[in-house]
Amino acid sequence: MKDLVILGAGTAGTMMSNHLAKRLAKDWRIRIVDQRKIHHYQPGYLFIPFGTYKEEDIVKPIKKFIPERAELIQEGILKVDKDHDRIYLENGETLDYDVLIIATGTDIAPDEIDGMMGPHWHQSVFDFYTLEGAVKLHEKLETWEGGHLVVHITEMPIKCPVAPLEFAFLADAYFEQRKMRNKVKITFVTPMDGAFTKPVASAHLGHLLKDKGIEVVPNFNIMSLDGENKTIMDYEGKEVSYDLLVTVPTNKGADYVERSGLGDELNFIPTNKGTLQSNAKENIFVIGDATNLPASKAGSVAHFEGEILLENVIRFIEGKELMDEFDGHANCFIETGHGKALLIDFNYHHQPVSGTFPLPGVGPLNLLKESRMNHMGKMAFKWIYWNMLITGKHIPFVSAKMQEAGKNFEEETV
């Protein structure tokens, strides 16, 4: 009996367990480790603060999505001993493996910023990258009487890099619907040189912020937070005051990655960007947010990586050369408020441009353009997530590698 172990039963890990259960030879045992009991539909976090989804709309038991063939081990991970192909669990048990897939994702680390944690956490300073943070923020918004809302990115990389912008757009619409937009000032604070950083997206979408009356404070690298005076400070002495701060804290990989000596400064794991094999050892593969790839940290990326990783795990087991094929493909809906959304499709080589998706020249979805259809696509995606994506079924018309037809790449040269 040979052993394959998957660490993490989130989007990527659950999906891989389903892929592998169908493809691995019978003499392989599949085990998947995650101490949590509940699978969160993470794209849903964004909608909780505004009451569009409630907590119960975006959770299901992890167990329900793990195939019968795989054993789910609900225990914390202490460390991976890569030299001996062994995992130490927090309860003292060990798991030996022939092939390891790491899919433990990323989490927020608010304590990386001086002063961010304190009595003000989830009182006047909120995150929406956890279910708890999103739910607490909803309670706050329901009773908030207005003031200065600051939407803030601590540093890159973060999971779902467009989510903070979506939050600002949805907040604008939310306060408008509640007839209190005139009582709320919205500011978007980012360490980058603008809310949009890619030239084509900037040209198409730059007007959105102005139209919605959202101010942007660029090049702001937060040094510390003063909860009492409700102020954030950057390294150059710039200050922004807030009444309500919605921040995306530093994102880091799991702690056991650091204890195992497998990660970089932020516990992301150096990984080959085409094959998804770790740089650390040939029998360790990495997928999803846990990697250090120059791709977005997003469920769609994990989904596209999945098809290539499956192929490469099989090839590795058969002693064949790995496919160097992952192209960094990402596909994301971006909510812009008032029942509209954008869609972007891009990879390592191409920035998001306009065009049609998924059928070239036909659509029905338009890229880099606001539409109601895109919003419907985003809302329909929840069903696709639970029923197709994490269960490892192919999504029609959507390929792992980015399709080049139907996209206006000439925009990139302008």
Partner: protein
């Protein structure tokens, strides 16, 4: 956009960043630094080399990552490249501007 810096032909994008790191030389760096109002000293070069190495390894950069590199801390990084250290240092190092996906 093609331009000539220190006698060499250099390709720049519309924000003034090199589009091909192979065209980078120390003279080009000194010229771009001057445009940014920075005179390069012994303290700048290790930072520039670190950024280029990270770029070649395709590691996404952030201010805090540079601060944890052991090459400079964040305060020193700001002191060397005032007013947007990562943006300016990247331009001087001949690598792309730090960006998000959109």
């Amino acid at each position: 956009m093609e331009t000539t810096i220190a006698g060499q032909t250099i390709d720049l994008n519309n924000e003034g960043y090199l589009t091909d790191i192979k065209q980078w030389t120390k003279e080009v760096a000194m010229h771009i630094a001057q445009e940014e109002g920075i005179t390069l000293t012994d303290g700048h070069w290790p930072v520039i080399e670190y950024l280029q190495e990270q770029y070649r390894n395709e590691v996404p950069l952030s201010i805090r990552k540079v601060g944890k590199s052991g090459v400079v801390d964040i305060k020193q990084f700001y002191a060397l490249f005032p007013g947007g250290p990562l943006k300016k240092a990247s331009r001087i190092a001949g690598i792309p501007k730090p960006a998000s996906c959109i």
